[in-house]
Amino acid sequence: MSIDLNVRSPTSKSLGSFVKMADSLGLTGFATVLQRDKPFETLEGGMDLFTRIDLPESGLRAVKKAAKEARPKAAVIAVPLRGVDVSNWAAEDERVDFLTLDKPHNECILRESTAKLAAVSGTALEVPIEPLLTSSGLTRSKVIKVFRENVQTAVGMGMQVILSSGSKVVMSMRSPTAMRYVGLLLGLDWKYTKIAVQEGPQSIIDRNKKRLGSDFVAPGVEIVQRGETE
């Protein structure tokens, strides 16, 4: 069982080719940024599809508002790692699933304090590998630097790291085994790569399925049996 939590299929028409590729790579599901009717769905062939929403990069107030609106509609919610205020809020807020390194440059710095907050609330650091596939030479070495430094901070502070493809085109998708080797390049050990590629994404989906269910009240509180009203 393996899922990719970041597939950026540009149109609904092209979604079919992503499903086909995911199937041939041995994935059982993926999260798409396209708007779907339900946050969780299973297609005819058995492929699981999840709705992903990336919150805007604007100010804290706008991000908070967007998170409130997005949560019931999305299986996964991501916030780009940028300013301190937004990052710290996202790290602490249980509605947010990831801090994502979508545009890796020198301003994308995960602070130890942010990682510590995220470790407590269960917010993960998402590393989309797409920039590594589309760059080369010195540009790629800069991307690797940003990724490795942030991964090191996250692991050191106990924050979960998740690897995703971030693919805008079908051929940027990678098999789970291939992703694990990219994890090694980013400084993870082989055992941890399995958590980052397979177990971690699955546990986030399972957690959110539970949270969006009708029996969920708050973390640790859920309805086990409904009483009858007269």
């Binding site: 590729m21 041939s24 790579l25 590594l132 596939l133 589309t134 080369s136 030479g137 790629r140 085109v169 079908v170 051929m171 940027s172 998708m173 990678r174 098999s175 085994t177 291939a178 080797y181 990219v182 090694l184 390049l185």
Partner: protein, 102 residues
């Protein structure tokens, strides 16, 4: 002294465009290995494409056991070869060719 043991890797090269031949693939793996890990890694890799089917994309790479991890990582990071977008999928590794079949 580094180990001279060989390792074999069964892989599938998914392609979107004109087919890639073995020479192009090996050259691109070497180029990526050089870019990521340097000249010493390429020199020690003893990289050789044992089998490759252009149509299916299935093949077997042979390399120095000590460099296997770096060879696979370099191959996975290949985004395109000669304007054809590709996705390299490592399938299985083994110390013998026979081991890849099981």
């Amino acid at each position: 002294m580094k180990s001279r043991r060989k390792r074999y890797l069964r892989f599938c090269l998914h392609q979107d465009g004109s087919p890639i031949n073995g020479k192009q693939l090996t050259a691109e793996v070497r180029r990526n290995l050089l870019s990521l890990y340097g000249e010493v890694a390429v020199a020690d890799s003893r990289l050789y494409l044992s089998k490759y089917n252009e149509d299916s994309g299935m093949g077997i790479l042979q390399c120095n056991a000590a460099l296997l991890e770096k060879v696979i990582t370099s191959s996975v990071l290949i985004g395109s070869i000669e304007k054809t977008r590709v996705s390299f999928e490592p399938k299985k590794t083994s110390g013998t060719l026979k081991g890849l079949k099981t």
